[in-house]
């Protein structure tokens, strides 16, 4: 397993995502209410919570895919509500998203998928476009012959890697990962965690990772935020969450599966 030193929480560190008092709901139902969250530059934040508590909703609200009813979201120091469309486009090329199902464009090969954002935003020569796409594909651990395959010809793990390569296409500052290890076998999941940690160090990424994978939380996450009842129940390094006396967190981190992960990971 990877040996990571958890950086201490420093309130003076640069905040790249600042969510304040956000409220999101659909119809009569309110999912997030008065939620605050900070994500610091260069950290891997693990975001946990029971199913249906709104982890994906928060991610989608930050990405602007779900409208919020109240509150502010600042990404890289810019309030998302105050951006003009062109500023918004500039901001959007600074984040990359790995969707849970990959969301690769089914009609394009892996290489073309990676090249979509590059073609859209960068002015590259054909040679460089090809080389960079191949570089990203190799960086995420795919074999070069996967480059010309269509998404329907890939296995689940390969789809995740290809989608990660696309998320990294523009060298983003922030990467959102929605359950990156779900659907992978434990070895594949472990490799994927390591890959995320390596890329995070190499590229200086800030990673916002929604996950249920306790191994991921133990091995790669610098900080963990737990969502419940529409709010952040607790946040901090894993030790802080282990000490929490919230019933859900206690059963989450002290259940049978958690003890196994702790024994192997920490």
């Amino acid at each position: 397993m990877l040996d990571r030193v958890h950086p201490p929480i420093d309130r003076n560190r640069e905040v790249v995502i600042r969510v304040r008092d956000i409220e999101v709901g659909f119809g009569e139902k309110t999912i997030l209410k008065g939620l605050d969250l900070d994500v610091y530059r260069g950290e891997i934040l693990g975001f946990v919570g029971a199913s249906g508590q709104g982890k994906s909703v928060l991610t989608r609200a930050i990405l602007g895919l779900v409208p919020k009813r109240a509150g502010t979201i600042e990404v890289l120091g810019q309030n998302l509500d105050e951006l003009s469309p062109s500023e918004r486009r500039l901001l959007e090329r600074r984040w990359g998203v790995l969707f849970q199902q990959g969301a690769l464009f089914s009609a394009l090969t892996v290489k073309q998928n990676v090249q979509v954002p590059m073609r859209e935003y960068l002015n590259l020569s054909d040679r460089l476009l090809d080389e960079l796409a191949m570089l990203k594909i190799e960086m995420v651990g795919l074999k070069p012959d996967a480059a010309d395959k269509l998404p329907s010809e890939l296995s689940g793990g390969m789809i995740k890697r290809a989608a990660l390569a696309r998320a990294l296409a523009l060298d983003p500052d922030i990467v959102f990962l929605d359950e990156p290890t779900s659907g992978l076998d434990p070895i594949g999941a472990g490799e994927f965690d390591e890959l995320i940690a390596t890329l995070q160090r190499t590229l200086g990424l800030t990673v916002f990772m929604v996950t249920h994978d306790l191994d991921s939380l133990y091995t790669v996450c610098d900080r963990i935020a737990a969502l419940g009842e529409g709010k952040i129940l607790a946040e901090g390094p894993i030790e802080t969450l282990l000490e929490s006396d919230n019933p859900w967190l206690r059963s989450y981190f002290h259940g049978k599966r958690a003890r196994a992960a702790m024994a192997s990971g920490a």
């Binding site: 960068l122 002015n123 020569s125 460089l128 570089l135 960086m139 269509l150 060298d171 190499t202």
Partner: protein, 381 residues
């Protein structure tokens, strides 16, 4: 703002000494300045002479994978020209990045080039083979369908009545308004043109014979079949195709359910029942349209219209149209299901198969109608 961006643009300062050339890199070597990064790298490569080259990163403010890749590529190219090059003063982060992207040649995927003539011949050959496969596939599918229907007859509990009724609503009931509308209008148009031609011979009342026979034998059924192919055939292909894409068909199979029995048989049964009904409704609507037009343009009163119609049209005229209807339904249903089952992973493939389902169905409906016309003429029915 503009000035600060200028200051951040990548620049190169070349310094020469007796034994080495130093390229001092300044600014942001990132993808935002991709073009500049590439041209500067080419410049650096051109500056190199016999001397060893040092790429000094001390003043690089930002480096991303693109910058690192281009720089390492330049270093590598200088190496292959027997001019060594090295990085100097890279920060630890930059060094990690440079190590990670370390230049390696990517193999060009071999591109197959053939002459246009050969390509054309290959295309023709493939489409002929494809048509043959379609025919064989269609017949095989008809066999599977019939055996599924027989199993249903033998085990009536496996008959999915609810699904058939639901499909019947989608295919027939909801299709009635549009079919009535277009049939009525086509009836009007044919009657009007007929009157314009027949009036020159003083034979206006014969327009009733014209529209009666034309509509009942051919037009109503053709209109209905084309409309159903466009409306229901396409929906049918899209439904089955997207179920195929999401592995729903496989899910049915592993549960021991036969997709033909569950999905396709109810739809084709509904088509077999619904299309003749729609064709009948279409005939009535077209005849009404023709009758109204004949009254307005040709002074053929409804009484005269009905009595002439009775004289002109026999039971056989009506039956010729109706006998053909189930065959059209079968052709549309089989083509739509085969195309749906042929959908593979991508959204593009779904679109292609829906299009080809509609095009093939309409084509086959018209071909079949021609064959029937020859057949009925031969047996003088």
């Amino acid at each position: 703002m503009a000035q600060s961006t200028l200051a951040q643009e990548p620049q190169v300062k070349i310094e020469r000494s007796a034994e080495r050339v130093t390229a001092k890199l300044v600014g942001q070597w990132t993808s935002e300045h991709a073009e500049l990064v590439e041209s500067l790298a080419a410049e650096i490569a051109a500056e190199a002479d016999q001397h060893h080259m040092i790429l000094d990163l001390a003043q690089v403010r930002r480096l991303d994978t693109l910058g690192a890749w281009v720089l390492d590529r330049t270093r590598h190219e200088l190496g292959t020209r027997d001019l060594g090059a090295d990085f100097a003063n890279a920060s630890p982060e930059q060094q990690i990045l440079l190590d990670e992207v370390a230049y390696r040649g990517f193999q060009e995927q071999p591109k197959v080039r053939r002459s246009k003539a050969i390509d054309f011949l290959v295309d023709v050959g493939e489409s002929v083979a494809g048509a043959g496969r379609d025919l064989v596939g269609g017949i095989a599918f008809l066999g599977e369908l019939v055996s599924a229907l027989i199993r249903m007859v033998l085990h009536p509990r496996r008959f999915r009545g609810t699904a058939v009724v639901n499909q019947l609503e989608q295919i027939a009931y909801r299709g009635v308004p549009i079919i009535v509308l277009i049939s009525f209008l086509v009836g009007c148009i044919v009657a009007q043109q007929g009157i314009f031609q027949l009036v020159r011979f003083g034979a206006t009342p014969f327009v009733v014979d014209l529209i009666g026979i034309l509509i009942l034998r051919e037009l109503a059924l053709l209109l209905t079949s084309i409309m159903v192919a466009g409306r229901s055939g396409s929906a049918f292909t899209a439904e089955i195709g997207s179920m195929k894409m999401r592995e729903e068909i496989d899910a049915l199979r592993v549960m021991g359910l036969d997709p033909i029995e569950v999905l396709i048989a109810p739809r084709i049964l509904a088509l077999l029942i619904g299309l003749p009904l729609l064709a009948f409704i279409s005939s009535i609507a077209a005849l009404s349209g023709g009758g109204v037009t004949a009254w307005l343009y040709g002074d053929v009163s409804p009484d005269v219209f009905l009595s002439r119609l009775r004289a002109a049209v026999g039971m056989n005229t009506f039956l010729v149209g109706m006998i053909k209807a189930p065959f059209m339904a079968l052709v549309i249903g089989i083509i739509a299901s085969l195309e749906g089952l042929a959908v593979s992973g991508s959204a593009e493939s779904l679109g292609r198969h829906v299009t080809s389902s509609v095009v093939k169905s309409i084509f086959m409906v018209i071909v079949l109608d021609g064959l029937f016309a020859m057949f009925f003429a031969a047996i003088r029915y």
